[in-house]
């Protein structure tokens, strides 16, 4: 223990008390918030020291806010300096100065003791709408932040206890659901007060010096553990790349995000030099969100270490300005979560998987938001509606077991999906299916988790549009150590009808009317290890449960399953045929992966193969609507496969 004034008991008591304090703040938000997005746990709480550095974050906070909360606090300090007073409360959402995107609205309150700032409490929540062109404030076509939503630079919203209603009203006047937004603001402000009250109670009981020493020690303690773990890893340099699907301003081609990790002693350095310049849509990320993705990706390998400034100190980060991961004002960044964030995080997870195989993880499905908004014309309804949906999907295969099926995005594992029954009551959208998608998991010795499929029918409505914020229709969730990719993401409108259309993984403002149907998968996770080494018994069990079809058991795993009696679940493995099939695949698979993409396109057109073969057997990326090869994307995708998959096949 470095702090002599602290005995181990007082420290442990105060450390737990700080954790309890932020969880109390979270509970307050959960019970009184108005945004269903917040209610589904897209929020976080923090206690920061007088410099703005995090002392403790909530135990259930979602990953995407990690590592940005202190930047928010510092932005307030930078803007107001000495002009911060007791019972002031501030509001902020500026991604360029320390936020993530405009929807993540942060409320910050200083905690004063005898006239001095001793701490800050902070509550961050994803408001369901912050204005801008489209309902839900996800405008894929935005190039600049103007029109995306309301940008809130640091401003005061309570002035020494006096509520500045005019300021608040001006802010929410720019947002849909004005009253609800004021409700969220109040819920978050109350949460900050709960944190303040608890912190002052601790000071009253233990004395200000002891509490502040414990706060410092909390950070030092976390730093100590983190450094001791990093120091155990031999020094070295590792690099990898993941991709965003495309830049709509350019010809087809994947958009690289390069991550180089250097470990030296007990310090980790990430360098994103060489990543693509900013792209012509809102999937860019400003620096704070990129920092978060790198730290949160690393955190998956240190699950037991509490989150605070001490953990962040172990990492330093270089991201050249102007690159897709460090977009300067006023470049649009609202879709960072589906774009840069997922990719940088996946890259970091892949790097650490090499260093800590016991916690290895293949790539997961991509976070997605689907929005349908317009005027509800069901009998008895005459009001604006917004169907704002996100899916669970498959996580990557692991070194000792399969990936988990249908789980929240790695971007925020606490983010719960919404019940369809609630959605159907509130909006004119009838869900046709919400279930596990057979064969969606990336094959591997340990397969990825299964993805889902969800779609439905638009019922009586007027003036309605649909927007989608997703990715990985082309940069498909990858496997590692010889594992295979899962399936492309992207939405189909009126599939199977005359006017069917593949709208892709990002689009905005597509008109919809009563009777239109839509469906989209969330991908499965990428596989881990060579699928031909998967225990045939595990493949058999997957067939019995309908996670894998008999056809793909043969094609992806080389396991031939005979169906004797499906009613009695009587299936068996044809051992001889399996040996033969596995030998056949082993002999040809590298050549398949290197064959001419044009021929693959022709085979698909002839009906000799299907889309899953295109991806998993031939490593070809297509425009899935036109069923035509994307040559540059395919070349990049295959280069990736050579390294992550083919080089591991014996």
């Amino acid at each position: 223990m470095n702090n002599k004034e602290l005995d181990p008991v007082t420290f442990e008591v105060l450390k737990n008390a700080f954790g309890n304090l932020v969880d109390q703040m979270s509970e307050q938000v959960l019970r009184t918030c108005y945004s269903f997005v917040i209610y589904c746990r897209d929020f976080s709480s923090a206690l920061c020291d007088a410099n703005g550095d995090t002392i403790m974050q909530g135990s259930q906070d979602i990953a995407v806010h990690v590592g940005t909360l202190h930047l928010t606090c510092k932005a307030i300090l930078r803007a107001f300096g000495d002009d911060i007073h007791e019972d002031d409360i501030f509001i902020f959402n500026d991604p360029y100065e320390g936020g993530t995107h405009f929807c993540d609205v942060r409320v910050v309150k200083p905690v004063f003791h005898e006239g001095e700032i001793v701490a800050f409490t902070l509550s961050n929540g994803h408001w369901a709408d912050v204005g801008g062109k489209v309902p839900g404030s996800f405008d894929i076509t935005a190039r600049e932040h103007y029109g995306e939503g309301t940008r809130i630079t640091p401003i005061r919203i309570w002035d020494q206890g006096r509520y500045l209603g005019d300021v608040a009203d001006c802010l929410v006047a720019n947002m849909r659901g004005t009253e609800d937004r004021l409700g969220d603001l109040r819920a978050q402000a109350e949460a900050c007060k709960v944190g303040e009250r608890e912190f002052l109670r601790l000071i009253e009981k233990y004395g200000v010096d002891t509490v502040l020493a414990a706060a410092r020690e909390c950070q030092d303690y976390v730093e100590r553990i983190a450094r001791s773990r990093i120091a155990e890893i031999p020094d070295g340099e590792w690099e990898t790349v993941d991709f965003i699907d495309q830049d709509p301003d350019q010809e087809e081609g994947l958009i690289p995000i390069k991550v180089k990790m250097t470990i030296k002693g007990d310090q980790v350095h990430y360098d994103l030099t060489g990543s693509n310049p900013i792209v012509g849509c809102f999937l860019n990320s400003a620096f704070p969100a990129t920092l978060s993705s790198l730290v949160a990706g690393s955190k998956a390998f240190f699950p037991d270490i509490p989150l605070n400034a001490g953990f962040f100190r172990v990492f330093d980060v270089t991201v050249p300005e102007g690159c897709v991961a460090n977009a300067p004002w006023p470049v649009a960044v609202t879709g960072f979560c589906s774009g840069v964030y997922e990719k940088a995080q996946a890259a970091v997870i892949e790097l650490w998987s090499e260093l800590m195989p016991q916690r290895a993880l293949g790539c997961a499905f991509n976070l997605e938001y689907l929005l349908i908004g317009g005027w509800d014309r069901r009998p008895g309804f005459d009001s604006f509606f917004m169907w704002y949906d996100w899916m669970a999907g498959g996580h990557g295969g692991r070194s000792s077991k399969d990936g988990s099926n249908g789980t929240a995005a790695v971007f925020g594992l606490g983010l719960s999906i919404q019940p369809c029954e609630g959605q159907e009551r509130l909006t004119p959208v009838l869900t046709a299916e919400h279930s596990i998608l057979m064969d969606s998991a990336g094959p591997g010795k340990f397969r990825g988790g299964c993805g889902l499929t969800k779609g439905g029918t638009v019922m009586s409505c007027d003036g309605s549009v649909m927007s989608y914020c997703c990715d990985r229709a082309r940069s498909i969730a990858f496997g590692i150590w010889g594992g295979l990719p899962s399936i492309p993401q992207g939405l189909w409108k009126n599939k199977g009808k005359e006017d069917e259309a593949f709208l892709g993984a990002i689009f905005s403002g597509v008109p919809v009317e009563a009777g239109d149907t839509f469906t989209r998968p969330s991908a499965g996770g990428g596989g881990l290890g060579d699928p031909l080494e998967r225990d045939p018994e595990m493949v058999l069990e997957d067939v019995i449960d309908g996670y894998v079809s008999i056809e793909r058991a043969k094609k992806d795993y080389g396991v031939v399953v005979i169906e004797n009696d499906p009613v009695m679940l009587d299936y068996e493995i044809d051992t001889e045929a399996t040996d033969k099939e596995r030998a056949y695949i082993r002999e040809n698979r590298v050549a398949w992966m290197r064959s001419d993409p044009k021929e693959v396109q022709q085979m698909l057109a002839n009906g000799e193969i299907d889309e899953m073969d295109v991806v998993r057997r031939y490593g070809v990326v297509m425009d899935w609507g036109q069923k035509t090869v994307l040559p540059k994307s395919t070349a990049q995708f295959r280069e990736m496969l050579e390294k992550r998959t083919i080089s591991h096949w014996s």
């Binding site: 008991v9 309890n20 983010l415 609630g422």
Partner: protein, 676 residues
């Protein structure tokens, strides 16, 4: 002829028996090891040990972990599930969350029914309960045939929007019952006509898998007790804090999944009320964990949902109990960052604390308490010797890491354990808007009385109550409850557009249903009490509050006034001008069971003699002080003690710290005054 009332609480380790003779007030307590493979064997053994003639038993009530254990061990009968086409994976997808956000290798338990046994039929209701697609009867029959051929013992029927219209589910149930008579079949709408598919389906599935388990168990128990000569009813405690008759339990099996945990909370509440405290918290500390509960204004705090395993909620009102991994056997350790931790790993009964010398070498709370002199080396009234040297050797490991003395280390271990318990007490009180200073703390379980006074001091709780038989106190909870049923209906309307007549009529329907349930259990007339509750929230908000409403309901105003006041108390704000939304209507039906009256003890003469004086560590003195040790049975009503003092009984030790005054009340509870 004597008139006995028997309460049996089956726990994971012990089966506790608490017997009460109505006329004399005589109390018999027994503790026998539980027999998890067939829990009724321990009950028979306990009754034999208690030597009570079974034909003189008037009433037998029972709290059991048989449901919880079946769920945790997944020792469940083959069960099928049938869903609306396109929705068979609802219970696998859940709400998609994980309890540990960062550990990608820690998984949520798989669903209770594997995917292969989840089948689909074509049918669909919309949000308004209109059939968008009719039930395909041919498919329904096919599904039933498949389940029959697969030998399913139970089937859960879970369709979309069935909370608005359960007709398709009911028809499906008829078909399954026709094809497979004798199978246990339940529908989500009959159990819980409430919105949100996963929560309703999950409740229904838990009910289906437990149905056969619970009915087999109760049938066996009824038979065994009959053989012993008992012919009366068996009342089973459910998580809502009431009892149901054994026959009713079969239909609502998921309600008794936390039967055992509720018992302690009920006993706590009863004891607090008896001692004149309307507000109290319960600290039920055993070998591996501590259960914390709260009663306010004489009513136990309830939660509207609970779960045995993460991700599979059971949506019945349930007594709120917070369980933390802090018990006598919890292990103290130093983490890689140098922080002193306590639990949740526990030495349990095997290998046990170091001082038991049964293989454990890590320092536990029991070891630390022994080093501090709070525990005797001679436990169970001479039935068990424990080793102080072994305890010291274990605690020394912690001392060495920090360069502390042995006693400092022992004290530090206890302080960390107590801090964890304080956090849990704070969670259920401060975090819910209750001020601990308005409460009493009831300490029980094997280890609760060792720590209760220190926790109370930390949280400024002015009073501590230690019941007469802390070790088996929870069993008393089974003895003192009424029959209780909770029914609910989704009802959505704003306070501006509410039809009071319609609400009144729904309440009346629910009451009729509840009255019929109670009548089947033989309860009518004055024995029946019906309570109406309304779920309300501000428009736009996501969580609702349940508030009691008058009967008959003629205006909303009273209900709204209660809602605004409760919202203000819990969340520090309210706005009576804002429109609110009514979300659901509930009826709680209580069938009164005659309560035994607890006899009072006679006042003793003069001060009791301590059995010994020993050196015990005092926190306030920072050193060991000579402390008198009393036998609990020597403490007559009216006895006054001044701390420091220790009170020992069969399986529990009570610590009265320096500066704390204690008295023994007429029910022989020890009441400590911590306010000084």
């Amino acid at each position: 002829m004597a008139k006995y009332r028997v309460a049996v609480d089956t726990g994971g380790t012990f089966t506790d028996v608490f017997i009460f003779e109505e006329d004399s007030g005589e109390v018999i307590v027994q503790k026998v090891p539980s027999t998890p493979s067939n829990p009724s064997e321990a009950i028979v053994a306990g009754m034999a040990k208690a030597e009570v003639p079974m034909d003189q038993v008037q009433l037998f009530s029972h709290g059991t972990t048989v449901g919880t254990n079946a769920l945790i061990t997944r020792n469940l009968p083959p069960t099928g599930m049938v869903n609306t086409k396109g929705f068979r994976d609802v219970i696998e997808i859940r709400r998609s969350t994980k309890p540990d956000l960062w550990d990608h290798y820690k998984d949520v338990a798989p669903p209770h029914v594997p995917r292969r046994h989840r089948l689909e039929v074509t049918e669909r209701m919309d949000y308004a309960g209109e059939a968008v697609t009719p039930l395909d009867e041919a498919e329904a029959r096919q599904v039933a045939e498949v389940f029959k051929q697969r030998g399913m013992a139970a089937v859960a029927i879970c369709f979309m929007n069935s909370y608005m219209n359960g007709a398709h589910e009911e028809r499906m149930k008829e078909i399954i019952s026709e094809v497979m008579p004798g199978a246990y079949v339940c529908t989500s709408s009959e159990l819980l006509p409430d919105i949100f598919e996963h929560e309703r389906f999950s409740t229904c599935v838990v009910n289906a898998v437990l149905g056969p388990v619970v009915s087999d168990y109760l049938q066996d128990l009824v038979g065994k007790l009959k053989d012993l000569g008992y012919a009366g009813d068996i009342l089973v405690l459910h998580s809502g804090g009431g009892v149901m008759k054994a026959e009713t339990v079969t239909s609502y099996a998921s309600r008794i999944a936390s039967s055992g945990i509720a018992a302690g909370a009920i006993a706590m509440n009863q004891t607090a009320q008896l001692c004149g405290f309307e507000n109290a918290m319960g600290l039920d500390m055993g070998g591996t964990s501590t259960d914390i509960s709260l009663t306010y204004g004489g009513e136990l705090r309830m939660a509207n949902e609970w779960q045995v395993e993460f991700g599979y909620p059971i949506m019945y009102p349930s007594i709120e109990v917070i369980t933390i991994g802090a018990g006598g056997g919890s292990i103290a350790w130093v983490d890689p960052g140098g922080s002193l931790r306590n639990g949740p790993q526990s030495a349990g009964a095997d290998p046990g604390p170091a001082c038991y010398q049964t293989g454990g070498t890590e320092p536990t709370n029991t070891d630390a308490n022994l080093v501090l002199g709070r525990l005797n080396t001679n436990l169970l009234e001479g039935g068990m010797q424990i080793s102080k040297e072994a305890a010291e050797a274990a605690v020394q490991k912690i001392a060495d890491q920090y360069g502390m003395s042995l006693v400092e280390a022992a004290h530090s271990i206890i302080k960390v354990a107590e801090a964890n318990m304080c956090d849990a007490l704070r969670l259920i009180s401060v975090q819910r808007g209750y001020d601990p200073r308005d409460f009493a703390l009831v300490g029980f379980g094997g280890a609760g009385p060792l720590h209760a006074a220190y926790l109370a001091r930390e949280l400024e709780i002015p009073t501590v109550i230690i019941p007469r038989y802390p070790g088996v106190h929870a069993a008393l909870g089974c003895l003192l409850v009424d029959v209780r049923h909770d029914l609910q209906r989704t009802y959505l309307a704003t306070s501006a557009g509410t039809d009071i007549a319609e609400i009144e009529s729904i309440f009346q329907d629910l009451e009729t249903e509840a009255t019929e349930l109670l009548a089947e259990e033989g309860m009518t007339g004055d024995d029946v009490e019906l309570i109406r509750l309304m779920d309300i929230r501000y428009i736009g908000q996501w969580r609702q509050l349940s508030v009691k409403v008058p009967k008959p309901i003629t205006t909303l105003d009273d209900a709204l006034a209660v809602f605004h006041a409760e919202h203000e108390r819990q969340f520090s704000w309210s706005n009576p001008d804002q429109v609110v939304e009514i979300y659901g209507l509930r009826v709680t039906a209580i069938g009164k069971v005659p309560m035994p009256s607890i006899q009072t003890g006679t006042a003793g003469e003069g001060a009791p003699e301590p059995k010994e004086v020993r050196s015990v560590f005092s926190e306030s003195e920072g050193d060991f002080v000579e402390t008198p040790v009393y036998r609990r049975r020597d403490l007559a009503a009216g006895t006054e003690l001044a701390g420091p003092a220790i009170v020992e009984q069969l399986d529990t030790t009570t610590v009265i710290p320096v500066g704390v005054g204690a008295r023994v009340d007429e029910y022989l509870n020890i009441i400590m005054d911590i306010s000084g």
